[in-house]
Symmetry: C2
Subunit: 199 residues, 2 copies
């Protein structure tokens, strides 16, 4: 059985939980609290020298890190990973977009408003995070005006990756009401069999 | 023939050029200067609504963006993409690491020191960029102490992705002399058939 080391209210960890539930892959969940230094212990760093969750341990004892690489591994050979060459690359395009142009703004704004005390000086970063986050949401809205999902015309790991921090963007002060196509896509994702909420 | 829209001195664009040269894929290169707004024209945004290079256009007219997704597409079915499930996920793990934990520090420090005027206020960001960038280099050094390449025991697109901004890290003020394993790996990458320098 695989072991998932994760933090339940992290969107990056939620991606992995959602995938194993929808793929009906048996797993053991080990809660790891990075705020308490639990991703910096020698034991944890032996699993992932980059000190981040999610990290998974496979049945043969090998470890795999980076939420979107874990999604690719878990979905191999299933309908959640497009098999066709360009559709698979398109799924990856959106997953790299998520980690580079979306998560560093939308998830970080949520982190500041949701986890840090109101007097944190990091609130000064919010205008820039909102500007960049809205740019990412605009790119998603434009795509969803012509396609129901992000790759291959159907629900895939690209949707899981982007759903994780988009559906809770309001926690970071984003107004999703400006993006009707995104709101309709969030509802389509929630209707997928085996869906479960963050947390 | 594919068309690559890229900026010759960008590491992200260099990844794609290196891959097509090593895979002997015929291509047309179109130079796009993002500093002059050329990634923000309506014509370019029709290819990539996120307004970034590299972006490629395939023979059927479809477009693909995100350097590491392009690498995955181009290397499909070749020795540059590990075919085995875990090795391929491992390559992707390092490519997501590159875009999340490496490029935003090492490439951005290079951008500030190499492209911006000496009086730019962004130089104030350098201590934090160096701290995070050295963390990423430390993770790479540790991996390379036991393996010659990043995934599957041989040269792959994971090495191309990480080589792009690691080999020119000194431009951003990083001292690679502290990382003998990385220096040996850079030399192994340079000895691969078809290697060509950035620029």
């Amino acid at each position: 059985m695989i072991t998932i080391y994760g933090m339940s209210d992290s969107g990056n960890c939620y991606k992995v939980k959602l995938a194993v539930e929808q793929l009906r892959i048996p797993y053991r969940w080990v809660e790891v609290n990075s705020a308490k230094g639990e991703t910096r212990t020698p034991e944890f760093l032996a699993r992932n020298p980059n000190g981040k969750v999610p990290t998974i341990t496979l049945e043969d004892g090998s470890h795999l890190a980076e939420s979107n690489a874990i999604l690719h591994y878990l979905a191999h050979g299933t309908p959640l990973l497009p098999a066709e060459r360009l559709a698979q690359a398109r799924a990856l395009q959106w997953m790299f977009f998520e980690q580079y142009s979306h998560e560093p703004y939308i998830a970080v704004a949520r982190f500041i408003l949701y986890y840090l005390p109101p007097e944190t000086p990091r609130r000064a970063d919010l205008p820039r995070l909102h500007e960049r986050g809205y740019q990412a949401l605009g790119v998603m809205e434009q795509h969803l005006a012509t396609e129901p999902f992000f790759a291959g015309g159907r629900y895939s790991i690209a949707d899981i990756a982007l759903y994780a921090y988009t559906h809770c963007a309001a926690d970071g002060g984003f107004d999703l009401g400006r993006y009707p196509e995104i709101e309709r896509w969030l509802e389509r994702v929630r209707r997928e069999p085996g869906h479960l909420p963050l947390g």
